[in-house]
Structure formats: structure tokens, C-alpha cells
Point group: C2
Chain length 311, copies 2
């Protein structure tokens, strides 16, 4: 990961001063680097000896960082990873453009690696992520969003990049379909688990503690699984409450507490975490097909880490 | 070009309804398709017989369309090609995300073609364009912008894509360095000419007629070559005027007319057009290295067309 971090910082450079300034703000603000780790482990586990996986891992992180920059603009978010969002410090305009720059750099780096198959996988993920975000725009502020709609959104906006990040490991290591499919499946299931845990954490997790970063999704009118479950199980009065807050964005003091109360009442947070655990179990299952050893263990630890964030 | 248009419309599709809606709004609103035409002509002139140039041409147009969507958000523009800008119809959020989707699709299409060299050229252009836009953000609202600063911006934000669009023609047709360099040089020079003409047209062209689309750059505080030239030649009072309007965005009735008056007084529009002609001449010079015939003639016509828009 040291090589990946070094490459990330060097490729975030540009003669245009604002670009490294914004990129480094985000890159050095302590993301978990989960996605690039998947790429490295999924190549190293096959004894891959080149440097291509480092470059692909850095591209994956750039794609992710570009998405974060654009997401914050789209969601009008003020905070990201406990710091002011880039758009609050440098404006929406710079966030959009620096995101575009990082995406361009990501593709240049993939081209350097020279694997058309890895390029196909990652460029497809890039289009799918954007599709997922557009889909989420449509689902936002619509309390009629079904569980299936919601899963379609998170598959595209989150799980697809986890899947691609893992799949390019065996690709660069010259493996066949079975290994590529297993790595992809591991990444996809982990991605689902990761997003569900994130969604539960946004309401304080299964313990529903009111931490400092709680309630962003609620305030932005985002319909996530806990809400979908609570709405499906709620009374007409509950639905009216969700409709006012999420569709109408008419949120008063005490509404977030009321929302969390409803989520607890209908077991919506606990059940979201339960589903995350199930996806995590599927990810572990996929690992059984991949070679055993320390990299396989690290990938299993990643699953445990994702789930542990919430419990 | 019929094949390119067909491919563009089919690849702008998505199950997510909003995507084809927005993409087609922009794609069918009568862009000049100048960039994809360069790719086709620069491949066909070497007797290229495959279909890869059509796919590359469509990718180039997608990259351009994605840039337009993001530009309108960044510039807060209301109009694009005489229609309401996508961001006014569907919002900034959808414009950012659909731009991202089109960029992802563009890379997928390039991967389909399978030329790593074309991928390298176009992904580099993609990063350079974004760099140019960030540079322009810094230059906007700064009347101290020099002519060199300005040329650096337009090389990156406009000429680089023209150059890449032309260069991938001989690349896909399997030509050597000399032909690639000539095509690139043709595209680059044409790109400069194109942008300078655009800048002059934004103030009514050399005749300085006040058409309906005049004054956007002025209202957005953009520093373009006509303004750079007029500021360099103006009095202190003139500088105060430009400073108030472009840096302070304090624009009153009659200010645009006053700006055009100053541009005429200091020959700034005529000289901008003169420079465009010189770049156009360089483009024609580059064509001498490329094979003669109907495609070479079409590329020469493209130069004449660009210049004729303003005179």
C-alpha cells in the first residue's frame, strides 16, 4: 500500500496549483483505501510479481475520489470524512473540474498498465457508477422507493467499483474466468455489505447512538434501506412523517430523533445490519474459491472490518 | 458521419431514463460534429477500412458533450446552442452525473476499439481538458491574465481535443510518427483558430453586431483574447471599467455596448480574428504533409468554415 499511496500523491500533481491542493485535501484525509487494497490482495494472492496492480489500485482510488468530489456537489454536502467538503473550501466549480481531472488521470494510468481487459472492467464500472448516481437522484425524495430499487442503486453506485477493483487483480495476474468471477463476486458482496453498514451508521448504527456524523442522509432526503424497511412496516401517520421530512425536506428539531425512534421501533436498523452480515457471508463464501493464504485472510478481515464498524 | 450519429444515439441510451433524455437533448441540438469529422477524415485519408474510426469519433463527441454538460454547471450558463442549457431543464446535479456517464461510455467505446495508443491519446486529452478548465477558473475574473496565460487555457480546454481527435485517425490506420504528428498539429492549430473565432463571436465578431448570443463571456467574467488585447492597450479608466465588469461582475445597462466600443477602438476583435486566420494558416500548412485527396480537401474546408463563422 505504500507504493499505492506514493503513486496516488505523485499522479494527483499538476502544474495547475488548485488541482493537487484539492486532490491532496481529499486523498490525505484518511480514506480507508479499501478499494485499492482489494486490487493488491487479489493480484498478490496469485503470486503476481509486476507493478501493474499498484497502478490499477491507484486508478481505482482516483475513480473513487472523483466520485466523492462530484457526489458532494450533487448532494450539497458540507462535510466529508470529518473535514469541510472540498466544495465548501474551493467551490462547486473546482470540485466538478478536479473530479474530471482525476478521472482522466485514472484512465491514463490504466492505459499505462496496458491491459485492455482491466480497462474494459474499470471503464464499465465508471459508466455504471454514474448510472447509479443518476438513479439515486430519481429515488431521492421519493418514499415509494422499493427495496429492489434501492438495491439496484447501491449495486451500481457502490458495489460495482468494489467488484471491479477485486476483479482486475486476477486479470492482471493472468488468471482464468473462474478466479476472475470469484474475485468479482467477493468484491460485489463486500460492496453491498459496506454500503448497508454505511446506511445504518448514518442513523447511529444498530445501537442508534447519536454521533456527530449522524443524519446526513435524512437531511438530504436520501431513501436508504433502513428507511425503506421502516416505511413498509409503518402506519399511515409514520408515512406522513417520512413524506414530510424526506420528500418535503421540511425538517424540524426533534425529527431526526423521531426518525431514529421509528427505525428502532420497526427493527429497521438491526435488520439492515443483518442483511449486511448476510452479504458479508456471501463475500466470505466467494473467498473459498480463491487461493488460501495471507492475502485471502486479509480479504476476510476486510469483511469483518466492514461489519465491525456498525456493531 | 451517419454511422457516427447512429452510434452516438445508441450509446447514449441507458435503462436510467434521465440519461438518454439529457444526452439526446444535447446531442441532437445541432452541434457541428467538427471533432468526430476530424477523426473520420484523418483515418479515411489513409484508406482505413475498419469501423474503429467510427467508434473513436463517437467517443470524441461523447467526451466533448460531457465537457459541455460540466461547463454549463461551472459557468452557470443558461443557454447552450440556442436552447435552454441541460442544467436549467434538469438541474446541476443531473448535468454533472450524466456528464460522468458519457465520459464512462466514451472510455468503454475506446476500449472496444482496442488501440492502446488511441486510448493513451484520448485519456491524456481528457485530463488536459479538465486541467485547462481549472486553469480558466483561476484566470476568470482576473484582468491581469496575460496573453500567454490565455493561450495556455485554450490549448488545454479546446485545442487538445481537436488535436487528439485528428491524431487517432492515423493511429487507427496504422501510420507512423510523421503522419500522426501532422494530423495532431493540424487539429491543434484548428482548435486554436476555432476558439479564437468563438471568443470574437461572443462580442459580435469583427463587425461587432449585437446578435442574440452576444455577451455571455462578458457576463461570466471570462477573460478572452479580445479583452486581454483591449486591456493591454487601454487607459487607466478603461482598466477600471474592465475591472468593475469582469472582476466585480458589476454590470449595468450599456456596459456590454461600452465593452464592444472599447474592443473596436483598440482593434481587439479584428486582431483576434487575424490571429485565428494565422492559426488556420498553420493548420493548412500541416495538411500539406498528409495525403492529398477529397479527405484532405474536407479538412481544409473545415478550416475555412471555422474562420468564415466570423467574417
Amino acid at each position: 500500500m505504500g507504493d499505492v499511496n506514493e503513486l496516488i500523491l505523485s499522479k494527483a500533481g499538476s502544474n495547475v496549483e488548485l488541482i493537487p491542493e484539492i486532490a491532496k485535501h481529499l486523498i490525505s484525509s484518511g480514506g480507508k483505501r479499501l478499494r485499492p487494497m482489494l486490487t493488491l490482495a487479489c493480484a498478490d494472492m496469485f503470486g503476481y510479481e509486476g507493478k501493474g496492480h499498484v497502478t490499477l489500485a491507484a486508478s481505482v482510488e482516483f475513480m473513487h475520489t472523483a466520485t466523492l468530489l462530484h457526489d458532494d456537489v450533487v448532494d450539497e454536502s458540507d462535510m466529508r470524512r470529518g473535514k469541510l467538503a472540498a466544495r465548501k473550501l474551493w467551490g462547486n466549480q473546482a470540485s466538478v473540474l478536479v473530479g474530471d481531472y482525476l478521472l482522466g488521470q485514472a484512465f491514463k494510468m490504466m492505459v499505462d498498465v496496458g491491459s485492455l481487459e482491466a480497462l474494459r472492467i474499470l471503464s464499465t464500472a465508471s459508466a455504471v457508477i454514474a448510472e447509479g448516481e443518476v438513479l439515486q437522484l430519481g429515488a431521492a425524495k421519493n418514499i415509494a422507493t422499493s427495496e429492489a430499487d434501492y438495491l439496484r442503486v447501491i449495486e451500481a453506485k457502490t458495489a460495482a467499483l468494489f467488484a471491479a477493483a477485486a476483479e482486475v487483480g486476477p486479470v492482471i495476474a493472468g488468471q482464468g474466468e473462474a478466479m476472475k468471477q470469484a474475485a468479482r463476486s467477493y468484491g460485489m458482496e463486500l460492496g453491498y455489505a459496506f454500503q448497508l453498514v454505511d446506511d445504518a451508521l448514518d442513523y447511529g448504527g444498530s445501537s442508534a447512538d447519536l454521533g456527530k456524523d449522524v443524519g446526513d442522509d435524512f437531511r438530504e432526503g436520501k431513501i436508504t434501506l433502513p428507511v425503506v424497511l421502516a416505511i413498509a412496516r409503518g402506519t399511515d401517520a409514520d408515512r406522513a412523517f417520512w413524506k414530510r421530512c424526506l420528500e418535503g425536506e421540511d425538517i424540524a428539531d426533534g425529527d431526526l430523533e423521531q426518525a431514529i425512534e421509528l427505525l428502532k421501533k420497526y427493527d429497521a436498523l438491526a435488520e439492515t445490519v443483518e442483511r449486511a452480515r448476510a452479504y458479508g457471508g456471501n463475500a466470505l463464501k466467494a473467498l473459498e474459491t480463491l487461493p488460501a493464504g495471507p492475502h485471502n485472510d486479509a480479504l476476510a478481515d476486510a469483511v469483518a472490518f466492514c461489519i465491525s464498524r456498525v456493531s
